[in-house]
Symmetry: C2
Subunit: 157 residues, 2 copies
């Protein structure tokens, strides 16, 4: 125990690897995991990675991600890789991809934007403006939204 913490084998589920260090709890929130669901969950934070310096990992038993969840993870931790486990084997592995367009996922930060007018039922739409650092641009008013603000909105903190 003092040396290692081994996590019991997970037969089926999802591993989110190469999460930006310190953001595992954000990923957990996106996945809707509190622990009270009874699923086996393993999380490590700030461990060394050959690829990206330090990283976090989240592993959840019996969970498959929906596309919207993968998109949100891409916004929060763009280097993440998703591993799908079946019968103790990785049957699929891919890197998340920052969406080119965000529809209805976040609100515009500009209070006078048409998407923020109470009487106008216009869904906010953003297009990818810059990938690193991550910046999206409002389709309607052109306001730029940075990653920190996107995370704030997605996590609700």
């Amino acid at each position: 125990m003092g040396k290692e913490l081994r996590v019991s084998k997970i037969g089926n589920g999802t591993v989110v690897d190469h999460i930006t260090a310190g953001r595992a709890l954000y990923v957990l929130k996106i996945l809707g995991i509190t622990g009270r669901e009874g699923r086996i969950v393993a999380i490590v934070m700030n461990v060394e990675s050959r690829k990206i310096g330090k990283k976090d990992i989240v592993k959840v038993e019996g969970l498959r991600l929906r596309k919207e969840q993968v998109d949100k993870i891409a916004l929060i931790a763009p280097h993440s890789t998703i591993n799908i486990i079946e019968q103790f084997e990785v049957i699929e592995k891919y890197r998340v991809k920052v969406p080119k367009v965000l529809e209805g996922l976040i609100k515009c930060i500009n209070p006078s934007c048409i998407t923020n007018q109470p009487r106008e039922p216009i869904k906010p739409v953003f297009t990818l403006y810059n990938e690193n650092p991550l910046i999206f641009k409002c389709k309607y008013c052109g306001a730029k939204v940075e990653q920190e603000e996107i995370i704030r909105q997605l996590i609700g903190e």
Copy 2:
């Protein structure tokens, strides 16, 4: 990766073991860990335990708990054990103990209790009324506060 998630060795720090299943994130909150502090953290939830059915474990590098934190963990997960790690060895191990008296830690649920009167600077005090299920009793008005309410107040959710 599909089979096990091994956590790199932690030389110094604290392991909170035998946490009531599903409550690891509460413990993390009590410890003030978000991940952004840069510490190595490992969490497992809902794993099998010989002692208590299922349990959670939280392991944090370079952290020693303050007495107030241990008391709060005892209120949230009364079966927890604390392991202190130094140079890769467990140098101390103890079980948390539910405090007999809570001073200023939680508020009384009775709005007319003297401790809830804005002009009276009286600190709320509770005494342990029952250990399992966990119930505390207000020293002033006798109101009984159950564990669920205590957790709610400590976690702020």
